[in-house]
């Protein structure tokens, strides 16, 4: 599996504690500026495909703007609803001379559009009920 660091953009192009979308190879990656570092995940909530880059950050997690699912940007796992066996793909990031780089692994980029394998080895599970109490 070959590794590929792609130069993305200058760091200041992603505002502090916000996310922005980068399109690579026809796919969307959400990149977040956490101040001390950047974290990147695929820009698609496992629930209903919401744009995670548009979510509000809560520490190292992002809350999907559509129905309030909470996703860990570090692991890609769903933190809310709890015990959800789904996850999103994560990407390693690096900063070099003020420029942000993303790592793509050509081995799994070929099936980029498919569901990633979560930490516990299970793939995408059943549809889960919508979260309540999320603003319109």
């Amino acid at each position: 599996m070959s590794r590929n660091w792609i130069r993305i953009t200058e760091c200041e192009n992603i505002p502090l504690r916000e996310g922005r979308v980068v399109r690579l190879g026809g796919h969307e990656i959400a990149v977040f500026n956490l101040g001390e570092r950047f974290l990147a995940v695929e820009n698609r909530c496992p629930h209903r495909g919401g744009p995670l880059a548009d979510g509000i950050l809560s520490g190292e997690s992002v809350v999907c703007p559509l129905h309030g699912w909470k996703i860990s940007l570090r692991t890609g796992n769903v933190e809310r609803p709890s015990e959800t066996p789904q996850c999103v793909r994560t990407f390693a990031t690096r900063v070099e001379a003020g420029t942000l780089l993303l790592e793509l692994q050509s081995g799994n980029s070929a099936d980029f559009s498919h569901s990633p394998v979560c930490d516990d080895g299970t793939g995408v599970g059943e549809k889960l009920p919508e979260m309540e109490g999320v603003r319109a």
Binding site: N4, I6, R7, I8, T9, E12, N13, I14, P15, L16, R17, E18, R20, V21, V22, R23, L24, G25, E28, V31, R48, G49, G50, P51, D54, G55, I56, L57, S58, G59, V63, P65, L66, G68, T99, L104, R135, A136
Partner: protein, 791 residues
């Protein structure tokens, strides 16, 4: 508190006693150590009541509140009350507590000078404290600092004056004291050290304080918290042996076999305790002795203290003097984070601990102090114990015999037993059943974790805070932001919250800052929901809906043509007439938003935000044959006055030209209902998730008066409602009478102030769609184009 806790223990041993309790306060016993939480608005007086009147009744206790015992006759074995009553006793238990020390300061008896010791003091301070008041607290110990913080939360401008060179010198070393002083300064409390107050200035009422060697500062309120001393007056009258306190032995007996003493008034082994844990330890021993089960001994208590100030974590336990022979010091400090930890060890056993800025591990340290376990194997992890995977303290790792609640001496085993055998599911039940977490409250988190892990139907208690990140009620928080001049969400989270925030508190704080500072603040878009970052409403597929402002629902052929052109040019999948007399363009891509706005040439309709939505109108006198008021003009003007402003929740309005109510003004947040020769201004209506007919605020003659009344209510709602509270919940919660008193029937000065703040906000507001050509953040509407192509 100590007395009744002891009686509780006595009843457990032998319910045969006929108990009479005298207390000079008029309130039933309460948790004195939580008075600072009452002052800080975190708890109500009811929250800190320990035993309700029914408890006294159930246990057959004769409770005499508001009666001060003035004399004790040790020969006749009677006590005399200040009401003239004489009561005889077989056994006498003195729990007279302590009294505040009033240092010798000239003119200290002035109006506006308080102590902070009991419920009445707290009430008096709460009554007096108001935003902007200059308050000075003399004393930088636990009580003084907590009083300072409480007053600050009430909006006062607070200075702490301390005699010593560092704060809390009895619990902290000088370095710890400095860290604490920095933290207090950061919170906006001024700390003056090494100053001896010599005189209270002012003519009748306090106006300032003067220091030794000259120098003075202004003060409108002065709190003296310079320490406490045992209250031994009755002990003296009873002829007991007194030193600093009433002397007791290991069985809590005084020099008279029929008299006992417990709590802050006693001196045991040369020590007078002023903290809660010893009182309860003593109570248990005393209960055994007095009921004829003499045996258990009181052998002193390891002292631990925790500063109860939200956002300022300070913990100290055991020996603070590290110069004792053979002691080793292990220290860690990070000035930027404000964290200081110091452990003192002797022969590999913990003898003292000081924590400032980070006290999550205080429980471990306390256990090590109590058990005196050998720490040689843990030397590498002493300052940074392994954090369990779940983030919280791993409750499973605690042994059953370990104490969870130090104040009440409740072990983990006792709690588990209560959960299993008595069906305890909530913290309230646990408190009732075991008394755990009813002392200083610092073990509340642990108790919650235990309940969560063990209780089958654990219910978390709903506290009226915004969310878990920031433990303040909203009205307190608003006051804090205002008095502390806090102007950024991140700053608030760092000082008063968990430093992180979430999707609930961030938008709420953003709203509060905007409402308070009207643009004169650091607008942080990362704390806003996506709708408020791109000024459009996100749809299920990640596209957005665009609704331009059409004031009062009145449009023109030219506008309609532009809307049609935009819809075609950008392939808008759906064009829809909304329920609010507006036009919605659905399915617009984020990157097209600035172009769509420019082509429309119309301002934002704010249909995506918690703000002023629209005014729905009927045609009124202009065309309608029944109309009695010009509702369209009034509606357009109403919308113009409030547009571009934000509100706690969305705000919809309606204006109708006659009581037929065609534009449904009586189910809007604010409605104007035209009558022949007058307007009715109605508020708090709803026809959404709830349906509610609006309440009549006032009836006025002219359109201008109607708009003004609406403005008063509008601004009052903006300032006083909780975030995400619609007007119909707000009006119902407060009651329309109160709303009227605070708005249209308020004194002229108050009304003028509301109008002034509304005008200030309005002057600084702007059409959000202007950001289309002048983005507020980098790449606000567009994706990032990568520097390299990925193949």
């Amino acid at each position: 508190m100590a007395g009744v806790a002891c009686v509780e223990q006595i009843l457990r041993h032998a319910p045969k006693f006929q108990v009479t309790i005298f207390g000079d306060e008029t309130h039933v016993n309460y948790n004195r150590i939580l008075l600072s939480s009452v002052l800080a608005g975190e708890k109500s007086i009811d929250d800190i009541t320990l035993n309700g009147l029914d408890w006294y009744e159930k246990n057959g206790i004769d409770l005499r509140l508001g009666v001060r015992i003035v004399d004790v006759d040790p020969i006749a074995k009677t006590v005399t009350g200040d009401d003239g009553s004489v009561t005889s006793f077989d056994k006498l238990l003195l729990a007279t507590g302590s009294m505040p020390i009033i240092p010798s300061i000239e003119d200290v008896k002035k109006e506006g000078v308080f102590v902070f010791r009991n419920l009445d003091d707290t009430r008096a301070l709460l009554e007096r404290a108001r935003p902007g008041l200059k308050a000075v607290v003399i004393g930088g110990g636990l009580l003084g600092l907590e009083a300072a913080r409480g007053l600050q939360v009430q909006g006062c401008d607070v200075t702490v004056v301390h005699l010593m060179e560092t704060l809390m010198e009895r619990q902290l070393d000088p370095t710890g004291g400095n860290y604490l002083a920095n933290k207090m300064n950061q919170m906006g409390i001024t700390v003056l050290l090494g100053l001896s107050t010599t005189k209270v200035l002012g003519n009748g009422h306090v106006q300032g304080v003067e220091f030794k060697g000259g120098g003075s500062i202004p003060a409108e309120l002065l709190v003296v918290a310079a320490g406490i001393r045992p209250n031994v007056t009755l002990g003296e009258k009873a002829g007991l042996e007194i030193k600093r306190g009433i002397v007791v032995n290991d069985y809590m007996e005084t020099s008279n076999p029929d008299m006992f003493a417990v709590g802050e008034c006693v001196q045991h082994n040369g020590i007078c305790y002023g903290l809660v844990a010893p009182l309860l330890d003593q109570g248990k021993v005393l209960a055994a002795t007095i009921t004829g089960n003499k045996g258990p001994k009181y052998e002193g208590t390891v002292l631990a203290s925790k500063l109860k100030i939200m956002g300022v974590d300070v913990f100290s336990a055991g020996e603070i003097n590290d110069k004792v022979d053979g002691s080793e010091v292990i220290r860690y400090e990070d000035p930027s984070l404000g964290i200081y930890k110091k452990l003192t060890l002797k022969n590999n056993k913990l003898s003292g601990v000081i924590l400032v800025g980070e006290t999550a591990d205080s429980h471990n340290y306390m256990e090590w102090l109590r058990s005196q376990s050998d720490l040689s194997k843990m030397r590498r992890q002493l300052l940074f114990p392994d954090s369990p995977a779940d983030g919280g303290l791993d409750v499973a790792a605690i042994s059953d015999s370990e104490t969870i609640c130090g104040c009440m001496g409740v072990t983990k085993g006792t709690i588990i037993q209560a959960i299993h055998e008595k069906g305890v599911n909530t913290l309230a039940q646990l408190k009732e059943c075991t008394r755990a977490s009813t002392g200083c409250g610092s073990c509340t988190g642990l108790c919650q974790s235990l309940l969560k892990a063990v209780a089958p139907e654990f219910e978390e208690e709903v506290k009226k805070t915004i969310c878990k990140c920031i433990q303040f009620a909203e009205h307190n928080l608003r006051e804090i932001l205002r008095s502390q001049q806090l102007k950024s969400v991140q700053e608030v989270l760092e000082i008063y919250g968990n430093g992180v925030g979430c999707e609930i508190c961030k938008p709420a704080l953003s709203y509060m800052l905007d409402m308070l500072w009207c643009g004169d603040h650091d607008e942080d878009r990362s704390a806003r929901f996506i709708n408020d970052r791109v000024h459009a409403n996100i749809q299920k597929d990640g596209t957005f809906s665009v609704i331009p402002r059409i004031r009062g629902g009145v449009t023109s052929p030219d506008e309609l043509r532009r809307i049609a052109d935009v819809a075609e040019k950008y392939n808008v999948p759906m064009v829809k007439i909304t329920g609010s007399q507006r036009i919605d363009l659905l399915g617009v891509k984020k990157s097209d938003l600035p172009k769509v706005w420019a082509d429309l040439g119309m301002p934002s309709g704010q249909a995506y935000t918690k703000g002023v939505r629209m005014v729905k109108t009927c045609v009124g006198t202009e065309f309608c044959r029944f109309g009695v008021q010009d509702s369209t003009s009034a509606g357009v003007e109403l919308e113009r006055r409030f547009e571009n402003l934000f509100t706690p929740h969305k705000l919809k309005m309606g204006v109708v030209g006659c009581p037929r109510n065609c534009a449904e003004a009586t189910v809007k947040d604010i409605g104007l209902v035209g009558q022949d020769g007058s307007w009715q201004v109605v508020v708090g209506g709803a026809a959404g998730k709830s349906v509610r007919k609006a309440d009549l605020l006032i009836t006025v003659e002219t359109t201008e008066q109607a708009l003004d009344s609406a403005g008063l209510f509008f601004q009052y709602y903006r300032e006083s409602a909780n975030y995400l509270e619609r007007t119909y919940d707000f009006v119902e919660r407060l009651g329309i009478e109160k709303v009227r008193k605070e708005t249209v029937y308020a004194p002229d000065a108050a009304k003028q102030a509301l109008r002034g703040r509304l005008q200030k906000s309005k002057d600084l507001s702007y059409d959000a769609w202007l950001e289309g050509s002048q983005p507020k953040t980098a790449n606000q509407f567009v994706q990032i184009a990568p520097m390299e192509v990925y193949v």
